[in-house]
Symmetry: none
């Protein structure tokens, strides 16, 4: 079952939700098709599980970054991580972003805000760092930084060019370094 959600997260990211069949995921996880339904009543449930998997990855990552003492270093490390994933982004886009875009179309009423939740996790964490840096406009900055990440991933993917990630990553790092921070001393709080 862990194999299932892991396989689902990967295959759904690569092929997209609509193009992925339950059989695809079952194959990737090396389980019989019928067995999938023992753990997930519907395809949507499986998609949610994949979403949670991505949320878990994100939690792991931010947990790791939280060890760094300086919020600015954390943000720069986050950006560095994005750049490290440039080949995946150029090939398949950002997992969270593409999933969110697809899930948005998937349920007529658009009640399914689950996808937004993972992105909000990232926004919240980033906003928290900016706040620690003493920025009162922390939430806006978070939108800017995460937006830049989503945008560069989308462009890298559409143009199939990983170097976009590298160049934009460098720019974001410079931007972070140049960003005026709040009360001196607040940074190491």
């Amino acid at each position: 079952m862990r194999r299932l959600t892991a396989a689902a997260a990967q295959v759904l990211h690569r092929q997209g939700v609509e193009r992925t069949t339950i059989a695809d995921i079952a194959d990737a996880a090396d389980v019989p098709v019928g067995n999938v339904y023992y753990y997930f009543k519907t395809k949507d449930d499986l998609v949610q599980a994949a979403l949670s998997e991505h949320a878990g990855h994100l939690a792991d990552l931010t947990g790791e970054l939280d060890r760094l003492p300086d919020p600015l270093d954390r943000l720069k490390a986050l950006v560095a991580g994005w750049v490290d994933q440039r080949d995946m982004a150029a090939r398949y886009g950002c997992p969270t972003g593409t999933l969110a875009a697809e899930l948005d179309k998937r349920s007529e009423g658009g009640i399914d805000v689950e996808a937004g939740k993972v992105i909000r996790l990232l926004l919240d964490w980033v906003g928290h760092q900016f706040r620690e840096l003493g920025r009162s406009d922390a939430d806006d900055l978070a939108i800017t930084l995460v937006g830049a990440y989503q945008g560069m991933s989308l462009l890298a993917n559409a143009l199939r060019d990983p170097e976009i990630m590298t160049r934009e990553g460098a720019r974001l790092t410079r931007w972070l370094d140049a960003l005026p921070t709040g009360t001196p001393g607040a940074r190491h709080s």
Copy 2:
């Protein structure tokens, strides 16, 4: 037939490519299903036509903006246009961006670079403006600006919050205004 491509562009944007059936488009265009195949051999052809429709919209827009004498004004007007479309973006995302993301998954080999082309049209036009402004890093700036647009559209859509467009649009405008431009006098070339 023009009705068809127009309907296709709209419905595909709203529902996504995979969730949209030929019948949906035929309905929206108020033509019989069979008739669609008189003009478009396959669904993919129709999707391409919708893509061209979006490219046409973009050409119309840039053609309009080109009337402005100042490249900086053109770029700021472009951003203003994005903000004007904020409700649509918050509901369905950027047409070009979401289509590109979907089409990327649609053909296994990824041969279908058509989607990237429309985005590249925008990048080229924006890059051209920056070049006119005397920026030697015009292409990078174009990536940054268009990337910011795609990113803010995606976030606005995922969070269903059009205000994200407003706030980020304002930031981009400030950013454009603050951007050091090249040799004085080059601006009006």
Copy 3:
């Protein structure tokens, strides 16, 4: 499409609703499976159509019987018709009765009263005859007569014995003949 509803009515009666697949019906009607869905969006719709088909048969029959001048003769002819169908009843039960019993279980909420409607058509027609015969308890008599029909069909089917239909039919005929009727002269109104 007429072929479809006719085939559906027959096959559903013979095999039962739950045991009959869409493919079974498509086969019987000699149309491809997919085509069924051009006319009927769901299996339930097809079942309803089969029900209407039976209602139509009933209407044809009562229309025929209405030509007889005497209500008593009409009722006796109705019973004679039941007996004529004894082999079918012994093999598959009464179409309306078995369908009603099955449909009753088919929709959780039991909202599906369609099945009851066909039976009520028969009850109403029979009740009308008794009323013409001057019986003030016409509705009760209708329940008794139609109930006897349903009961003898069920027993004939369960015991696989068509003769049950014959014997009970004879008894019902005697019962009708012995039934005190209302004001003399009312019979031919």
Copy 4:
């Protein structure tokens, strides 16, 4: 295991054989699904067990009625029992009758006459009472009485009207009372 057959009898009656899954029955009996197969090799075996359960109920009932000295009283008490069950009949039909109708469709060859057996048990017992009453046409009368029961149950169920059971029960009671019996004195034999 007794819990299992009891649960099976009830759930199968309420939902119908085809609509009832093994899991439904396991749930109702509060045993794990796998456990069901420890006692019953197949679903059909479980259905047979449910049938036996109903046969047992019938045996209990007739055993009870046999205590009455007068066969006519026994039959009238039988009818009274039917009327007492009117709400269940209006909601789910007669257990034996609906099961018989369903099982008839269940096995292609129709070899499965098990369902008929339970009904025959009832017919035999009723026929025995009529015989004790000195009626040489006891078997026919049994068919009439049991048929009336099945018919009124089906109508009550189809029309969701328990009062049908009440009215027809009253009629059957009058009919029994009016029935000419055989040699005086034979009644208490």
